[in-house]
């Protein structure tokens, strides 16, 4: 009955066209989303997949996105490379570098450099919290003379590109005799990250009501106790964001480490990796295995704490 009236009025044509249009729209959206998702995932998928391939397989055309003969030899090479036993292509597989499978003698630096990265990143995170939390609390919740000026004094540095300051950084670190030490990295990373941490935390503290502070003080809390017992538990999301940011920044930092580090005593993971990639005799699959180890911590962090990364990134940017 209804079908009958629709065919007569011509309404069904219109409706069907609308349906087709909507279907097409969905199709286009799905297609676009698929392309973007591939774009987002392809590089790291390849990185992981190729780290389980042999050198022969990695250069095969067409490429194998799923390893045909998965192998752990790249990872074994990294973990078995020790100071005592210099791993070269001769001792490991007796292969000719041209045919691939070449493991550089610097492979033994990889694990120590991971430790260096971990130590530096952890120290920078802890010191950031120790310095940044009280500073942000003071800026956000305590009225004192020069407060507004201090806020801008510190926050404006967020927009200054650290790369423009490397010449003095280098001159000072050299003067202090701190080249090639983990201390130089911790110090300079702090200088780069503390303003940003303070920025995230001030934003968050300012959003918490002043009454909390007053109530705590009336109940006999000192400033310090008010911060510790009232504000810190409430500002957990921003603290997590600060930890994530400082950790990721320190873990991935390249430029300053490139300037300051020279030997395995202080070289961090990105430096050792970059040294691999500039050596054309090293097998791609070995470099990629090392790269996979380097991205494990950030990927875990990104997946587990995605929510906090977003809230940290959007701090201050989205105020409605």
């Amino acid at each position: 009955m209804s079908q009958f009236s629709q065919t007569n009025s011509g309404g069904i044509d219109y409706r069907r066209r609308q349906k087709v249009a909507r279907l097409l729209q969905h199709l286009v959206i799905l297609l676009g989303a698929a392309v973007l998702t591939i774009y987002a995932l392809a590089p790291v998928t390849w990185l992981v997949s190729s780290s389980f391939q042999t050198e022969a397989e990695i250069v095969s055309v067409p490429p194998h996105w799923i390893p045909e003969e998965p192998t752990l030899q790249n990872f074994e090479a990294i973990f078995s490379a020790t100071e005592e036993e210099e791993i070269t292509y001769e001792t490991r597989s007796g292969q000719d570098p041209a045919s691939g499978g070449y493991i550089p003698s610097t492979a033994k630096n990889l694990i120590p450099s991971m430790w260096n990265s971990l130590i530096v990143a952890s120290l920078v995170v802890v010191l950031n919290l120790l310095v940044g939390v009280p500073a942000a609390y003071a800026l956000a919740k305590i009225r004192f003379w020069g407060r507004d000026a201090s806020v801008y004094f510190i926050l404006i540095t967020r927009v200054i590109p650290d790369i423009a300051l490397v010449v003095p950084f280098f001159l000072v670190i050299r003067k202090l005799g701190m080249l090639d030490s983990l201390g130089s990295l911790v110090l300079t990373y702090l200088a780069v990250t503390v303003p940003f941490s303070v920025f995230i935390l001030v934003q968050y503290f300012e959003g918490l009501p002043d009454e909390l502070d007053k109530a705590a003080r009336v109940d006999g809390c000192s400033r310090f106790q008010a911060l510790l017992r009232v504000f810190l538990p409430l500002s957990l999301p921003s603290l997590v964001a600060v930890v994530l940011f400082t950790f990721l920044t320190s873990w991935n930092e390249f430029l300053l480490a490139l300037m300051f580090t020279q030997t395995e005593a202080s070289q961090t993971l990105p430096i050792v990796l970059a040294a691999f990639t500039s050596d054309f005799t090293i097998s791609f699959s070995f470099i990629n295995a090392a790269g996979v180890l380097a991205i494990v911590p950030p990927v875990i962090v990104a997946v587990v704490f995605e929510r906090y990364i977003v809230s940290g990134l959007t701090a201050g940017a989205v105020k409605g």
């Binding site: 392809a42 201090s150 927009v159 300051l165 790269g291 989205v318």
Partner: protein, 290 residues
């Protein structure tokens, strides 16, 4: 004693950050400015000689390339990352079930070092191994994709990887913005029968103007300090076709032993940042006073 401590707590706890900022940022800017006016080579000198370093800088074809690249790279990177970020945000805002997973997928490149992912990019862009070889295998023998080794096109590979790294971040910004738009207005518009795309272009997007501005500032900032990206992907090559001011500065300071040139190029980079950021800070300050 406790009273004194109580009164001076803000100053005491601010002192370390304050001092760090004073020395490491403001002090170092002044220092860089000073060095940029001298004839410093391998070692810094402190006799001011005027603007010779800037004259040398602007006479250098390599710097010319670096500045041109910065504009090409910067504009493409900012525009495409913003458009893509907005599209992704609108897509994810449609209450789709896989939102959490998709958000992570688009955002994770931000957490990774370009030094690591650069090797994968290099392989994908390698004409003999990656995309070009793959498409040719599918039967498109004429397909060429040699941007990485083509001096005229190499800078676009840097754009490609930079967008890959940062559009998830823009998406996150816009998504937060979309969610903060008043739902009542949107509902009212829908009740009135206004088509969805009109709701976006006429109501939602205009109300997100401040977020566009923040995204622009952050992306411009990222573009100017791009260093890892270029080093990992092209090393500034072929030749110096993909040099950016940051890589130029690094090359001058550490491989050419020309600290004066490095300092003057650093000052130019800083000025570019300031011309972009100062208007923003000014508007920010004004909105705070209101």
């Amino acid at each position: 004693m406790t009273k004194w401590l109580e009164e001076n707590t803000p100053k005491l706890v601010l002192a370390p950050s304050f001092l760090a900022v004073l020395v490491f940022v403001y002090g170092f800017i002044a220092w860089t400015a000073w060095v940029s006016l001298t004839r410093s080579r391998l070692l810094p000198k402190y006799e001011i000689e005027g603007f010779i370093q800037y004259e040398r800088l602007f006479a250098s074809p390599r710097w010319d390339t670096a500045i041109n690249n910065l504009f090409v790279f910067g504009i493409l990177f900012i525009v495409i990352a913003m458009v893509l970020g907005l599209v992704l945000a609108i897509l994810l805002d449609q209450n789709i079930r896989t939102e959490g997973a998709l958000r992570t997928i688009y955002l994770y490149p931000m957490a990774l070092s370009m030094i690591v992912t650069g090797t994968a990019w290099k392989w994908i862009l390698n004409p003999g191994l990656g995309l070009e070889a793959m498409v040719r295998r599918w039967g498109f023998e004429e397909f060429t994709f040699d941007w990485l080794v083509n001096p005229d096109m190499a800078i676009y590979t840097v754009v490609l990887a930079a967008i890959w790294q940062s559009s998830g971040f823009v998406m996150a910004l816009f998504l937060a913005g979309l969610r903060s738009v008043d739902g009542e207005i949107i509902k009212a518009a829908q009740v009135d029968g206004i088509p969805t795309w009109r709701v976006y272009t006429a109501i939602i997007i205009p109300s997100m103007a401040p977020i566009f501005l923040s995204a622009f500032i952050v992306l411009a900032h990222l573009a100017i300090k791009s260093f890892d990206l270029v080093i990992a992907l092209t090393g500034g090559g072929p030749g110096y076709a993909t040099d950016l001011p940051a890589t130029y500065m690094y090359a001058m300071a550490f491989s050419r032993g020309d600290i004066g040139q490095a300092a003057s190029s650093a000052m130019i980079m800083m000025m570019v940042v300031f011309t972009i950021v100062v208007p923003y800070l000014y508007s920010e300050l004004r909105s705070k006073d209101d």
